[in-house]
């Protein structure tokens, strides 16, 4: 039991930090530009596939740097040539543009790399067990992922809170015109923020690709959870996104690891009742429910606290 708790906590924190890498970019883009980037998870997927391809050509470590830069460049192009032109049609049009983009990216990826998972392996340098607890080997690569996520998180916090650049970005969030009057190119700031956000998503993809499965539906699988994270944490709140990422990461990991069901706790129902919704619910294991746990959390938070954990605005 203790083994399960330790390992699940480690994995949960890891998944939570990955979620935070993604949702931090999404949150900063959203609160700055008012654009909900539907294609954010697609940038994550692009990161994973670019990472895979570049690893094949030039090795993992250059890919770790190059792939996020490429994804960031794509993000900047999307902002410059897509979103900026669509802005005059309103936020719904911008949202729809990124939705169409997510759809198109998924199709393009499955067109180039196929629909089945690609063979994206952990680099040989990190392919060893870091430590052994309770006879379970914990892979070093996962620790590496955790380390990268924490470094990025701390760096992001320092840049946003302590540097001049962060000051301008924060000011542009709330008072874009004033920042413009002070002589900063707000358009370029937006483009840079969008690029950095996309690059973060790309980085998450590069490091998550070998540990999770790299295939063309990974964006569609993760995208909705990201939205749950940022609604749950409170729209536009970076600390909220952090807490929500960890909560959802932990809850989902623990749910996957647990095998219990109502039937195993209280004994099976009377078999003469026949198959019904009740027996379904009675027999379903917690592991089976794991995929819907984030959405259940979403519904609960909407009923209890519609502005999210750390959110301040009603809408």
């Amino acid at each position: 039991m203790l083994e399960l708790i330790v390992i699940s906590t480690l994995n949960g924190v890891l998944f939570g930090m990955l979620l935070f890498l993604l949702s931090s970019g999404l949150t900063v883009i959203f609160s700055m530009m008012g654009v909900l980037n539907f294609a954010h998870a697609s940038f994550y997927m692009l990161g994973a596939f670019f990472g895979f391809q570049l690893t094949k050509w030039i090795g993992f470590w250059p890919a770790l740097v190059l792939a996020p830069l490429l994804v960031g460049a794509i993000g900047m192009a999307v902002e410059r040539y897509g979103l900026r032109n669509t802005h005059k049609h309103g936020h719904v049009a911008e949202l729809l543009l990124t939705f169409g983009l997510a759809f198109a990216i998924e199709e393009i990826v499955s067109m180039i790399w196929g629909k089945s998972p690609v063979d994206y392996r952990v680099p040989a340098l990190l392919d060893f067990p870091a430590f052994t607890i309770f006879s379970t080997n914990y892979p070093a690569y996962k620790l590496f992922m955790l380390g990268v996520s924490v470094v990025i998180f701390v760096a992001l916090l320092i840049v946003l809170k302590r540097t001049r650049v962060g000051l301008i970005v924060q000011a542009a969030l709330t008072h874009p015109h004033m920042v413009g009057h002070l002589g900063h190119n707000v358009g370029r700031v937006f483009m840079a923020v969008f690029g950095v956000g996309s690059a973060l998503a790309g980085l998450a993809g590069v490091i998550a690709g070998p540990a999770l499965v790299t295939q063309s539906d990974m964006a569609a699988a993760l995208g909705p959870i990201l939205f749950v994270v940022i609604v749950f944490g409170g729209l536009g709140s970076l600390p909220g996104a952090f807490i929500a990422s960890l909560v959802i990461g932990l809850v989902q990991t623990f749910a996957v690891a647990l095998d219990g069901s109502l039937a195993s706790a209280f004994g099976p129902l009377d078999p003469s009742a026949g198959p019904s919704v009740l027996t379904d619910i009675w027999n379903v294991t917690i592991a089976q429910v794991a995929p819907i746990v984030p959405y259940l959390l979403l519904v609960i938070i909407l009923i209890v606290r519609p502005m999210g954990l750390m959110g301040t605005r009603e809408s």
């Binding site: 909900l36 169409g100 984030p294 909407l302």
Partner: protein, 430 residues
């Protein structure tokens, strides 16, 4: 509108003519629904017509949310799917208990299925509009789609629930075995739903929904609760989506979890938006086009969904009013008689635009078929995906066509401005 006599006899100054034309359009549509299967009576076209009919009901129901109330939903297929399951269960129950309910009434239960879910979940969902609603609808959609795989006794797991439409009590001696009879059933419900949904746009609720879409604060000031209005619109949209799902269940004799999923929700969003949300006939156009493309393209190319995505992005960027918006833009020009000054620039633009489209198609197909190696047939010309010649022609078409097309589009915009100015001077354009 000043002293100038309108050259067009059926303009706004003659409401009687307008009324005639209004009913004329509806009667024409109904007549087309009746006559079409007689002209195109092959099994394939009957199936297509049935699918298009279902898609139209679904897209119109979606437009109650998107076009009229301004709610962008990514989970509309939930109502469609639940309607389908409700209809399937009802059909099986009717057969099992020998209830005297004939098949044509089944879509009603589909509608009920969609409505019940909307009533339960809608109150929480419609608390907030805009982006938040979009995300929540996505989350709820995923929730229901994933739950459907867990609750096997209701949703039948991956296999879904099958039913037999011919086992229900007969009406007018129709067994609903042949596709033609199913088609007429769908057409009947299509007309009924379309009239009901059109009537809804004319009610005070429909009007106040538009107000909620445009300015919720003002609606609150005049004493309506935008939340309640959104909730009611959500319930109506859910019911009609359920009707569409029920029709689909009758057509396919099966309901499974794919009905509920994100792909189905995305498709209805595509149809509605490509067709145009500002006019009632927009989603109809969109549903016809998307279903037709879906059926037609699947046999031609393996990456048909990518073309959808590209068309969708193009519409979002260049014509947010959709196809209906593009068409209706020309109405004042037709009335003012200045359309002919625009047409030459359209004709000039056709060639480079087509070249650009060919370049896009050739590029996509080259990449898609690169490893497979089958030849690309573009307007009768064969291209081999591995040959550099194909890449060069694709690049030339893409870059050259794109460059020239941009110039001609600029010309269209200029000609358009001139024609619109004239139309405005003549009083046809506000």
């Amino acid at each position: 509108m000043n002293a100038k006599v309108p050259p067009n006899p059926t303009s706004t100054s003659k409401p009687a003519g307008d009324g005639l034309r209004f009913y004329g359009v509806w009667l024409l549509g109904i007549a087309a629904l009746i006559v079409l299967p007689m002209i195109f009576s092959s099994g394939g076209s009957l199936t297509s017509f049935s699918l298009i009919g279902i898609a139209i009901v679904f897209a119109l129901s979606y437009n109650i949310l998107l076009g009229q109330t301004g709610l962008l939903s990514f989970g509309h297929a939930v109502h469609y799917g639940l309607g389908g399951f409700a209809a399937c269960h009802m059909m099986n129950a009717v057969v099992a208990h020998k209830w005297p309910i004939p098949l044509p009434f089944i879509p009603l239960f589909g509608g009920l299925g969609g409505l019940v879910f909307a009533i339960i979940i809608g109150w929480v969902m419609t608390k907030r509009a805009g982006t938040v609603f979009a995300m929540i609808s996505l989350g709820i959609g995923e929730l229901v789609a994933s739950s459907s795989l867990i609750l096997r006794s209701v949703f039948g797991g991956e296999a879904g629930i099958t039913t037999d439409r011919t086992a229900l009590p007969k009406i007018f001696g129709w067994s609903f075995g042949p596709q033609l009879q199913v088609y007429y059933l769908i057409a009947f419900w299509l007309v009924l739903s379309a009239i009901a949904m059109y009537a809804l746009t004319r009610t005070p609720l429909g009007r106040i929904s538009n107000a909620v879409r445009d300015n919720p604060e003002r609606v609150q000031f005049i004493g309506y609760d935008p939340h309640v209005v959104r909730y009611l619109a959500f319930c109506f949209a859910g019911s009609f989506a359920g009707v569409a799902g029920g029709l689909a269940a009758i057509n396919f004799e099966i309901a499974n979890s794919a009905y509920l999923g994100a792909i189905q929700s995305g498709l209805v969003l595509f149809s509605t938006f490509i067709g145009g949300t500002a006019y009632f006939f927009g989603p109809i156009l969109g549903a016809i086009l998307v279903t037709y493309l879906q059926l037609g393209l699947t046999s031609v190319t393996s990456v048909w969904q990518l073309y959808f995505g590209i068309i969708f992005i193009g519409i979002v960027m260049f014509s947010p009013g959709g196809i209906a918006g593009l068409l209706m833009m020309h109405r004042p020009l037709v009335r003012a008689g200045t359309l002919r000054t625009v047409i030459p620039s359209y004709l000039v633009a056709i060639v480079p635009t087509l070249a650009l489209a060919c370049g896009v198609i050739l590029t996509i197909e080259t990449v898609a078929r690169y490893s497979g190696g089958e030849a690309i047939n573009l307007f009768g010309i064969g291209f081999k995906p591995q040959s550099p010649l194909t890449w060069i022609s694709a690049a030339i078409l893409l870059v050259g066509g794109g460059f020239v097309a941009r110039l001609t589009w600029r010309r269209i915009a200029e000609a358009w401005d001139r024609a619109a100015t004239v139309a405005r001077d003549r009083g046809y354009l506000a």
